[in-house]
Symmetry: C2
Amino acid sequence: MGEIPDSHPRKASLLARAKLTEAAREGLLAESAMIAHGRGEAFDYLLGERTSDSAKAAIKECAARLLAANNPVISMNGNTTVLAGKQAIRAAAIIGCPIEVNIYYRTPERIEKLITALESMKEEVAAEVDEKTKASVMAVEILGADADGKIDGLEGPRSICSRKGIESADVVLVPLEDGDRCEALVALDKQVLVVDLNPLSRTARTATVTIVDEVARALGEMEELLLQNPQPTDWDNQKTLREALDIISDSSKRI
Amino acid sequence: MGEIPDSHPRKASLLARAKLTEAAREGLLAESAMIAHGRGEAFDYLLGERTSDSAKAAIKECAARLLAANNPVISMNGNTTVLAGKQAIRAAAIIGCPIEVNIYYRTPERIEKLITALESMKEEVAAEVDEKTKASVMAVEILGADADGKIDGLEGPRSICSRKGIESADVVLVPLEDGDRCEALVALDKQVLVVDLNPLSRTARTATVTIVDEVARALGEMEELLLQNPQPTDWDNQKTLREALDIISDSSKRI
């Protein structure tokens, strides 16, 4: 892909695509990753490629619940790392929580590559901030290689997690999660916070709080909101899903 | 991907995904192909993964216009070849028209691989039919390697086509076409018939007739309708787009 002019109305979308294509070449992604991203692109298109007020409320709720948690963790897969790795690191530094690399199609090579990518993003983020923040950024632990935990209710490689991370967490932020895993985590009485552009997906409908938004925008917004120290509320997740569906429904009338 | 049980409600979708993943490994697809397929999957999901009555009417109209054309051609790219190559060959055999391999990110290697794939599908289709049909199947010319034509109004590799195919055609069926190329073909006063799952795309809105449906279902249905020898009508393409949008809009309320 050549240079994309700043004026291009869909620049962010084209840049995201270029990043993923590059990451796929480097072996960071599962074969299904590009298809999943394309599905997301279509829903984001219908949502107007912006963070809705409803999504912003969900992001704030997630920020509040992560701050109030005893053992929060942010779980990252291939697409999330490539698209929003730095945003996740900045959020984790504010929350003071670890990041766990946890992927559905688990191979040791991909886990290793994603951990390396996140460690190098930590250096980049640390170079951009003041001394005090730098210490909290460098303190963000990147888990996932340990593989010493288990998500009860799942079988095979999909059940593997980090004992210090997802296994012992009470609140898990898992952007772009698979439906089965989302259900298993909810069944373990964890609060499951997800980012999913499809408000009809099983993940979106199962999660405790669903952010219907593009992951880089959502986690970028979360950084800001975390600094406002929000408090958890009595959250109506069905309402946020209905609001996202209303936006899709309206946009499909814009011809 | 393992065996998919017949009972799986989304078997067709999962099989399409497996076919594309395999084709990507074999170098038949551009890097953007999987993302494009993902976008299609999302729209098809919202359309209920079925051919609507409105799409069926559009397919019939395309069948009629291809039969009535002086120089019809079916243009195939990577995704179309992988997903609906055999359906296109059967349709071309009934119409008595050539198929042109024509791809947006043109490389001689991919053109060659796609032509080889279609030639081998021709053999497969010929082996499944009676003697008379076999002759018409084997007579379907696969153009595209010649590259001796030009689509006026486009620059660079995107403008290359076959003189005997797209350049001299009055009616072109181009499933999954790019917006720029669709506009250029319409500007040349050709009838441009497209298959596009996004009724809001530039291609869908520019084409002479837009089939809002998954390409394998659409071309499969076209085979049947071609045999009924339909006649062209005074077609209202805006109406078919609005009907597709209504389905999307309704489906987004199904929570």
